[in-house]
């Protein structure tokens, strides 16, 4: 066991620094603690501005307040899936094939799925209040739902098992395929709706002039949820690292083989 630590460190580069300093199963550093506190403060701020300080909308009344959660969660989910795609590419195309990129991709996808779920739920609630229905076959809505299902599938693939690098490669390919798939889905759904010309739902925020305080609350929401995202991903990534290590410790012989692989020699 003790021999594995320096080896992992040399393999993971940046990743190992927090391990060497505080390897006791603690996943926080000074920076992530700061980020967490920032997220809490901003969330409290968002609650104050979203629920109390910002005015109700003329037409939507207080249901407009859902927007302060809905828009930031959607934004964070898109950001998260973007990070997943980028990290997948980094894993696959960098020569080192560092697992840290794979874990960032996985952590980001998990957080993204959670936020996308929140987006869908808050959107449905808002739709019920404003449009009278929970769901409309709008292109953007449909694409969002597909995005959600696609990344649920991505997370399922990550749990298929096999070695860490097998998982990383499989999910890396899938992460890139999702980047290909989503524009196609969006394009086809858009074409489908535009040709149908049935209940096409006008986007209400397009023609609503936004009050300054409302815009500010929305902005607070974006920053609050973004910092929450980074905090969650950072910690999740580190927990994943510990999970990987735990699995490795169970399989000492397999580890020896893998080490032989990773240092360039071929086993057998």
């Amino acid at each position: 066991m003790s021999a594995t630590v320096p080896n992992i460190q040399s393999q993971q580069g940046v990743d190992a620094s927090w391990v060497s300093r505080r390897w006791r199963g603690i996943t926080s550093t000074g920076f992530s603690r700061f980020l967490g506190i920032l997220a809490i403060v901003l969330t409290v701020w968002l609650v104050l501005f979203g629920l109390i300080f910002s005015p109700p909308d003329i037409t939507q009344q207080s249901s407009v307040r859902i927007m302060y959660i809905h828009v930031p969660t959607a934004w964070v989910a898109y950001l998260a899936f973007g990070v997943t795609g980028l990290s997948s590419a980094m894993y696959l195309f960098r020569k080192k094939h560092s697992l840290i990129w794979d874990r960032f991709a996985g952590a980001s996808a998990e957080v993204g799925v959670m936020f996308m779920g929140l987006t869908l739920v808050t959107g449905a609630l808002w739709g019920r209040l404003t449009w009278g229905v929970y769901w409309a076959w709008d292109a953007r809505l449909t694409t969002t739902a597909f995005l959600f299902v696609t990344y649920v599938g991505y997370l399922a693939v990550r749990r298929l098992g096999g070695s860490h690098h097998a998982r990383a490669r499989r999910s890396g390919v899938l992460g890139l395929l999702a980047v290909l798939e989503i524009p196609l889905v969006h394009f086809s759904v858009k074409l489908w709706r535009s040709l149908h010309q049935e209940a096409s739902v006008a986007n209400p925020s397009g023609d609503v002039k936004m009050d300054g305080l409302m815009l500010f609350s929305l902005f607070v929401g974006l920053i609050a949820f973004s910092s929450l995202y980074f905090w969650l991903v950072l910690h999740r990534q580190r927990v994943m690292y510990l999970e990987d290590r735990y699995e490795d410790a169970d399989l000492d012989t397999a580890l020896a083989e893998r080490r032989a692989e990773s240092t360039g020699g071929s086993h057998g």
């Binding site: 696959l92 597909f146 299902v149 696609t150 649920v152 599938g153 399922a156 693939v157 298929l160 098992g161 096999g162 070695s163 690098h165 097998a166 490669r169 499989r170 890396g172 390919v173 899938l174 890139l176 395929l177 290909l180 798939e181 196609l184 889905v185 394009f187 086809s188 759904v189 074409l191 489908w192 040709l195």
Partner: protein
């Protein structure tokens, strides 16, 4: 690469020819789906109107079964590993398996089309026959490329039977939409009021373009990605 593709495709079709598993199980399954759709929708005028969609739904469901089968053949005896160890070009394997899958799908679609005409009283407008054929070919290419790619991704993993539909269905949604709309144009079945109201054949061609893009994009992605997927899978 093409040589390998041809050999792999011939091998797959040969296996099918001898085992008759698709002929005896998947074709009846697809036909059964058509009958069950008719039960669920109950009214003749509705089934006639949504026939193109039901056709492509039945094809999509059959695709899942076909992909399972195509990779069950490869993984049961570690055949895929053997191919890899033997240094066979993964792009060739990918194209070969896609080709075999496409051939099976085409046969299935031809029979399903017959079933749709018989059960749902659909008729293809004479001018739409070319549209139907080209749509079917391109959609089949797209389905086969995507099916083989995601089949390879899930191959050999535990729980792939349940995983594959989850991965595959969202991806093939554009094909389902595009091919259905193109078929509607050829059948003349879209429109609000009457069954055969208000859709021109020419409305179908933009969708054909989309199907072509889809097939091209995923074909290229599959050729590139299949190698890394097979390694250490």
């Amino acid at each position: 690469m093409w040589q390998t593709a041809r050999l792999v495709a011939a091998k797959d079709l040969n296996i099918e020819w001898r085992s008759r598993q698709v002929t005896n199980q998947v074709l009846p399954f697809a036909g059964l789906t058509l009958v069950l759709f008719a039960f669920a929708l109950d009214r003749d005028d509705i089934t006639a109107r949504v026939a193109p969609g039901l056709f492509w739904l039945a094809t999509t469901f059959s695709l899942i079964v076909l992909v399972q089968r195509a990779f069950a053949v490869e993984t049961s005896d570690g055949a895929l590993d053997t191919l890899r160890v033997a240094g066979v070009d993964p792009a060739g394997i990918y194209l070969g398996k896609s080709l075999a899958l496409a051939a099976q799908l085409i046969v299935l679609e031809a029979l399903l089309l017959l079933g749709v005409i018989v059960f749902y009283a659909s008729h293809i407008r004479p001018a739409g026959i070319v549209l139907v054929i080209i749509t079917a070919l391109l959609a089949t290419c797209g389905l086969a490329f995507v099916g083989t790619l995601y089949g390879g991704l899930a191959a050999g993993a535990k729980g792939r039977e349940t995983l594959l539909p989850l991965l595959l269905l969202p991806v093939v949604a554009p094909v389902l939409i595009g091919a259905t709309r193109a078929f509607e144009a050829a059948f003349g079945t879209r429109g609000g009021a009457g069954i055969r109201a208000g859709v021109e054949i020419s409305d179908g061609w933009p969708w054909v373009g989309m199907l072509a893009i889809f097939a091209a994009v995923f074909g290229a992605a599959g050729v590139l990605a299949f190698g890394p997927l097979l390694e250490e899978a």
